[in-house]
């Protein structure tokens, strides 16, 4: 990380901004992935900073800047070539909006951690005051650190608090930066988190700064979009070897799909980070699988035979009357041998016909074809006689199935079936509401 910063400082290129504008979305996605890495890399940098030189220090702070999502955008700072000088300029800029500025930075040893630590504290404005108060004191870094930690975070192990405050500050920084309008052409946009901010250049610069985790070479690969290859641009400060590129593509694919999963799994919106989301996903899949087990057990318990629905959906008084009808209908040989199962015939025919034409209508037609004799049914009063003379024996089953299709399946398709009133009663009997999707 220390070696990267001078290079970054020296090579500025406005054209990079323009080129990188094209890859905005892709990079935004990458941001989320990188945030995790940034946290860790920042963490390691901070620990290294204590013992490092000034330059390394500044380099570390540059990345620290980005990690914390400073409101650099409002700094009106010139782009990279002026990075170091810009820092001087920034001293004059009003820091109030951002809460901190690298004013302490510019030179040397006294600068430092004060700043980094103050940045890690939760509120930018608070930090500004703190920074101003403690301006340029040449103290032992450790003491300053401990003071800062005490003032902003509280006592405790440094590293542990670091991670927490990092996350806190990240969240706060993200919120703040969302409020600030993106100044797309600002040179030193070191904003990290807020993917919602649409300044591509700021994101791009950000990438530049946050690339400390990966191997360091400046590279600009021109971006060519072709359908057969996946052309990946290596961003500034990142390696160009195929392994890293491929890995980056793979990481982005994964993060994209994790986003879909976030929408799918309830309660995943607040969780960022792969490990937490994986945990939620695992819990959800396990709970769904357990539900399936439980429901199959319940079904097995409720019904004496596996093919329960057919049995139960035919009302008992319907059964004897059905038996006479079936010889008139073409029965499959299998069914013919099993009188107790004779009521399955319409179901099977219906089901097979449904295999050809999906939809309730086909169910209707098949039923009308197979059953002919009218039979009194408990629910006959609800049914329209013109439609139902032919299908009354199986009306119960039909109605039940219709119910399922209607109620649970979002009323799909046309339902000429006049059992709507019946459906209504069934609906009242039982609360389908929460079970509907």
């Amino acid at each position: 990380m220390n070696t990267a910063s001078p290079k970054m400082l020296q090579c500025s290129d406005m054209t990079v901004l323009e080129r990188q504008n094209a890859c905005l979305k892709w990079q935004q996605e990458q941001l989320q992935q990188q945030q995790q890495q940034e946290q860790q890399s920042y963490f390691s940098e901070l620990s290294g900073v204590f013992s490092s030189q000034v330059q390394g220090f500044q380099g570390g702070l540059v990345s620290g800047d980005s990690v914390l999502g400073d409101m650099v955008m409002t700094r009106q700072v010139k782009p990279d070539p002026g990075l170091e000088t810009a820092w001087h300029e920034m001293e004059k800029v009003d820091m109030a909006a951002m809460g901190f500025g690298p004013c302490g930075y510019s030179n040397g040893p006294d600068f430092d951690m004060n700043y980094a630590i103050s940045r890690t504290s939760s509120c930018p404005t608070f930090v500004a005051a703190a920074v101003a108060a403690q301006a340029v004191e040449v103290k032992g870094k450790e003491s300053i650190v401990s003071e800062k930690m005490g003032s902003t975070v509280g006592r405790g192990s440094f590293k542990k608090r670091k991670v927490d405050t990092l996350q806190n500050s990240k969240v706060v920084a993200e919120d703040d930066s969302k409020r600030i309008k993106a100044c797309a052409e600002e040179g030193e946009s070191k904003i990290t988190g807020p993917n919602t901010n649409k300044s591509s250049s700021s994101n791009n610069k950000n990438k530049k700064e946050t690339s400390t985790g990966t191997s360091k070479e400046n590279s600009k690969v021109s971006d060519v979009q072709k359908p057969d290859y996946i052309h990946v641009r290596a961003r500034r400060g990142q390696a160009t070897d195929s392994h890293s590129l491929a890995e980056r593509v793979r990481r982005e694919k994964i993060s994209e799909r994790m986003k879909y999963l976030q929408d799918l799994v309830p309660g995943c919106n607040k969780i960022t980070g792969k490990a937490g989301m994986l945990d939620e996903i695992i819990n959800y899949v396990q709970s769904l699988q357990r539900q399936v087990e439980f429901l199959s057990m319940k079904l097995a318990a409720v019904n004496p035979r596996p093919d329960f629905n057919i049995d139960n959906l035919f009302a008992k008084d319907v059964f004897p009357s059905c038996a006479t009808n079936f010889p008139a209908v073409g029965m499959s040989s299998e069914m013919a041998n099993n009188p107790p199962y004779v009521q399955f015939n319409p179901v099977e025919q219906v089901v097979s016909s449904c295999g050809l034409e999906m939809g309730i209508n086909s169910l209707d037609m098949a039923l009308r074809r197979t059953i002919s004799a009218p039979v009194s049914i408990p629910y006959a009063s609800f049914l329209d006689s013109s439609c139902f003379t032919q299908i009354q024996p199986s009306a119960t089953w039909d109605v039940e199935l219709q119910n399922l299709y209607n109620v649970a399946f979002d009323q799909e398709g046309s339902m000429p079936f006049p059992s709507q009133p019946f459906t209504g009663t069934l609906l009242e009997k039982q609360n389908w509401g929460p079970e509907l999707i």
Binding site: I281, L295, N303, R305, D307, N309, T396, L404, Q430
Partner: protein, 186 residues
């Protein structure tokens, strides 16, 4: 993507078919046997609704086809495509094993190389995070049928599809259970 209701319809139909097959084969099943039959038919029906496009569905079908008794159930539910689907899974299974073995060897060699390069002050947090992710990926692989053979990207895609199917399955089963209850009470 198909609307969810059509997925459910298809699932229901195939499930009913499978259940009929089960009941004709054996009568007087105990409750546990019934439950197994129900669950198996439901799973296979769900898998067949995907028409062999997803890995998990193929895995379910392959597992079910291994045992002779269940094979007929699978064939009945799948219909004419059963041969194609089962054969497909068998061929990919063998390839997958080889691929996995070579991947594991590669990963091990990379890991060794990396640990030597890393500086001692690499942050503990990142190490822990990676370890957590790896551990949970393993758990997820054990949950998704046929998941051991997938790389991460595929795993997440399969998880997505599997979750959708599971949800549909649960909904259909739940409505059926409630319906049966009502009918039984009447």
């Amino acid at each position: 993507m198909r609307p969810p209701s059509s997925l459910k319809q298809e699932f229901l139909k195939k499930w009913i078919m499978g259940l009929q097959r089960c009941s004709t084969v054996k009568k007087n099943m105990s409750i546990l046997e019934r439950k197994k039959a129900i669950k198996l038919s439901a799973d296979v029906a769900m898998a067949s609704a995907r028409n062999g496009k997803t890995c998990w569905s193929r895995a379910i079908i392959a597992n079910a086809s291994k045992h002779g008794s269940d094979k007929h159930l699978v064939e009945k539910i799948l219909g004419p495509e059963s041969e194609r689907l089962i054969a497909k899974k068998v061929s990919t299974g063998a390839l997958c094993n080889n691929r996995i073995r070579s991947k594991k060897i590669l990963k091990r060699s990379w890991g060794i190389r990396r640990t030597r390069k890393c500086a001692p002050q690499v942050a503990l947090a990142s190490f822990i995070a990676k370890w957590l992710v790896r551990k949970r990926t393993k758990v997820l692989k054990s949950l998704i049928p046929g998941g051991e053979f997938m790389n991460e990207v595929c795993l997440i895609e399969e998880t997505l599809d599997y979750i959708i199917s599971l949800r549909a399955q649960v909904d259909v089963m739940r409505t059926l259970a409630s319906t049966s209850e009502i009918v039984n009470h009447n």
